[in-house]
């Protein structure tokens, strides 16, 4: 007598529960999206052009109307980040692609940037809910996606013949290539205001000592020598990250030794120097550097309220949009080392397009990725988003109206040995707390040696999580 009732109760319980769970699921993903638009892209220096920390994050209008298509038409979906540039680039690519392949429809979906975005992507992969194609970082972040299990091996796709090897290595794991480049490279270095330089008779520094000398002269003249925007904590890492060219110039095997747990920041003098350089900048920053944001920093730079801003070259895109008249006043140089003979640029590789391994539409997805990685694709992207450096696809050129500040960077690329990829593209080991540590260094709260040791401890977690040998 009581048995059927019990069964009924269990059944109804389960039914109720699954409803609840479903509600929870959708609710939490919405929250993730909302929360992210308020928080800054905290790991943005590691995000190549795929997730540019552009000013206002455009609101995602994902998967709009896509019903009632003719049967033979296949719909695939694309996930890109919600930055202004990210959305515009994805949309332009989709429009051009759909015009070329009228039988394939691409739905656009957006995700938050920075670490929220990292979790978004990881969660979708873990739950088997990933879009057919998604744009995401190359380098250390891509290594953390468990590519062998989640991503389609694209080593033998024909388009790879046109992709530069320097990029391929950043999306390769155990000899297999998993991605195709989206967008252009970026340089990490120092923006400077040319008007202030001209006014004080300064010249572009070739050594770190000269740079600090300039800083002193600017400060003595009563102006703000350096712009700090530590409210967006990721911006505080730039001096340390952009110093990698100088690290590898002195210690060519650092990346390999670092990955194998044989070299440490604290005990390698060339690497420790990166933290020391930031320590030397203490006191040169604008008064509100702890409360200023990335956008405010760009504004200060353009308006000549600060002379130097260590930043990634993709900032040019936002500068062009917000201060088009002042773009000519802004120049760019690589972060100098201690010797004038070794002066080169640290380069960030573009993000990549990946195909989800379990996608039901692999062929269509491949066609889309092939289009993205073609010169046709780069031409489409160049129209909506200012390239922040050369493309990594053979034959792809920069548009003629590229501003001078980007052209300042090109000589580094034209001579061999004048560029080096940032460490995160050479080693999967990158600690999550670097931005907090560099905030402390830049605000004089922590000494360089101490900070380097702390960071060494921080990266240990990442290496262990990835299961690297030797940790």
């Amino acid at each position: 007598m009581s048995q059927p009732n019990k069964a009924l109760a269990v059944l109804s319980g389960v039914a109720l529960l699954s409803g609840l769970l479903a509600a929870c699921g959708s609710g939490s993903s919405n929250n993730a999206g909302n929360a992210s638009s308020t928080s800054s892209a905290s790991s943005a220096p590691s995000s190549a052009s795929a997730s540019q920390p552009a000013s206002g994050s455009a609101s995602p209008s994902s998967g709009a109307s896509a019903s009632e298509e003719p049967k033979e038409k296949v719909t695939i979906s694309l996930l890109s980040d919600n930055s202004q540039d990210g959305v515009a680039t994805a949309k332009a690519l989709i429009d051009a692609f759909e015009a070329k392949y009228p039988n394939i429809k691409v739905e656009q979906e957006t995700r938050p940037q920075g670490s929220e975005g990292d979790n978004f992507v990881k969660t979708r992969l873990a739950t088997g809910d990933m879009n057919d194609v998604f744009f995401y970082n190359s380098g250390s972040l891509m290594q953390a996606l468990n590519p062998e299990q989640n991503l389609l091996d694209m080593t033998n796709e024909p388009f790879q013949a046109n992709v530069l090897d320097s990029f391929k290595s950043t999306v390769t794991l155990n000899g297999k290539v998993y991605g195709a480049p989206v967008g252009s490279t970026m340089g990490g270095g120092w923006f400077y205001n040319k008007k202030i330089y001209a006014q004080l008779g300064l010249s572009v520094p070739k050594t770190w000592a000269e740079l600090m000398d300039n800083n002193k002269k600017i400060k003595d003249a009563g102006m703000t020598a350096m712009i700090g925007t530590y409210k967006d904590t990721w911006t505080s890492q730039l001096i340390v990250l952009a110093d990698y060219f100088n690290v590898q110039a002195q210690d060519p095997t650092f990346a390999a030794d670092y990955t194998a747990n044989k070299a440490k920041y604290a005990t390698t003098p060339a690497a420790l120097r990166s933290f020391q350089k930031q320590e030397e900048t203490v006191g040169y920053y604008n008064k509100d550097y702890l409360a200023a944001t990335y956008d405010a920093g760009l504004k200060m730079l353009a308006e000549g309220k600060g002379a130097h801003y260590p930043m990634l070259s993709n900032a040019v895109s936002a500068l062009l949009q917000n201060n088009p008249d002042q773009i000519g006043d802004i120049g760019f140089f690589a972060q100098p080392g201690d010797s004038p003979d070794q002066n080169g640029l640290t380069v960030w590789m573009p993000g990549a397009a990946y195909i989800y391994k379990n996608s039901p539409h692999l062929e269509e997805a491949k066609k889309f990725v092939d289009f993205v990685a073609s010169t046709e694709g780069t031409a489409v992207m160049a129209k909506v988003s200012q390239p922040s450096g050369p493309y990594v696809i053979k034959g792809a050129t920069l548009p003629d109206d590229t501003p001078q500040v980007i052209k300042d960077m090109l000589p580094y690329f034209e001579t061999s040995g004048m560029t080096a990829p940032a460490l995160e593209f050479l080693s999967p080991v990158k600690g999550p707390s670097l931005e907090q540590i560099t905030v402390e260094v830049g605000s004089g709260k922590r000494k360089a040696a101490d900070a380097a040791a702390l960071y060494d401890q921080d990266v240990k977690k990442q290496a262990q999580q990835l299961g690297l040998a030797g940790w």
Binding site: S2, N5, K6, A9, V10, S12, G13, V14, L16, L17, L20, L21, A35, T38, S39, S42, S115, E116, D118, N119, K122, T123, L125, A126, A144, N146, Q149, Y230, T233, K287, D288, L290, A291, P432, S433, Q436, I437, V439, E440, S443, K445, R446, L454, Q457, D458, K460, K461, Q462, Q464, Q465, G467
Partner: protein
């Protein structure tokens, strides 16, 4: 037989709620104890024993985190008691516009914490913020509320108090109204003044309300995360990190096992503090 049947009878009604509770609360809790012992990528896991707990306790910001968590919980809950009680007394007094003032005091509780956090972090901007501009009008140079590592945590605690005092006030109003009229009459006969009324009647007899406020706001303070995250993200550096924000950062870094271990620690930490506290407070309550 019928006896057994009768005993089971009530449990059948309990079943739907119990299932929901078990699947949504008990199962994840037990699972989290398990996953805290693993290195977890959401897709697969390695059992690594207590390694996560070791790593979490080696976390450099953890000492700051524990200290900040306790300071934050103590400051917010004590201030909520003080201001909540004073406002409660004021709003149960003989004033006009009482109900209007009550809703004014309660209003901040209704606003989204994140929105409050963003609004206050703008107002606390050192040069362009409303607070410092107002101070500048008076000729005072205001501090960098959220940038100065010495006061950043207190600035956030202040906002938490502003936002939470409404709820504390409502609890106190209820507590004060529940004090029987006889005590006030006795006071009048004995010729006590307003201070006697406050100190000898209201404070001791609203003890259950005080305890509720202390417990609620202390637990809230120990677990607090949203306001801190929206205002400082634990910064500058690690200066305003609390345990919850440290855990969140581990989760953001993709260290799911480690973050779960952190949550287990937080759970034990909160229990270890709140359980004896609540036992102590309920023992000292007086009967009306």
């Amino acid at each position: 037989m019928t006896k057994v049947f009768k005993r089971i009878y009530t449990y059948k009604f309990l079943l739907p709620a119990a299932i929901v509770y078990i699947v949504i609360f008990i199962v994840p809790t037990v699972m989290s104890f398990f996953f805290s012992l693993t290195r977890w990528t959401l897709q697969d896991w390695d059992f690594i024993g207590l390694q996560n707990f070791r790593t979490f306790f080696e976390e450099p910001s953890l000492t700051i985190g524990f200290k900040n968590t306790l300071i934050y919980a103590a400051v917010t809950s004590s201030m909520k008691v003080v201001f909540g009680l004073l406002l409660g007394v004021f709003l149960t007094g003989k004033i006009r516009t009482k109900s209007y003032l009550r809703s004014v005091v309660f209003f901040p509780t209704l606003v989204s914490t994140i929105a409050v956090g963003i609004a206050f972090s703008m107002m606390m901007h050192p040069t362009m913020g409303l607070l410092n501009q107002a101070l500048a009008q008076l000729g005072i140079e205001g501090p960098d509320w959220l940038g100065d590592t010495r006061i950043a945590l207190l600035s956030v605690a202040f906002v938490d108090i502003w936002k939470g005092v409404g709820l504390a006030t409502v609890i106190f109003i209820a507590g004060i109204m529940a004090i029987p009229e006889e005590y006030h009459e006795a006071l009048q006969i004995d010729g006590g003044n307003a201070w006697n009324k406050f100190w000898n009647i209201i404070v001791p007899l609203s003890r259950p309300a005080t305890n509720a406020v202390i417990i609620l706001s202390f637990i809230g303070g120990l677990r607090s995360f949203d306001l801190i995250w929206s205002m400082t993200k634990g910064g500058p550096g690690f200066a305003t990190d609390v345990i919850a924000s440290i855990i969140y950062k581990q989760y953001q870094g993709g260290f799911y096992g480690l973050a779960t271990a952190g949550n287990v620690i937080l759970f034990l930490f909160v229990t270890a503090i709140v359980y004896p506290l609540s036992r102590y407070l309920t023992r000292t309550e007086v009967d009306l």
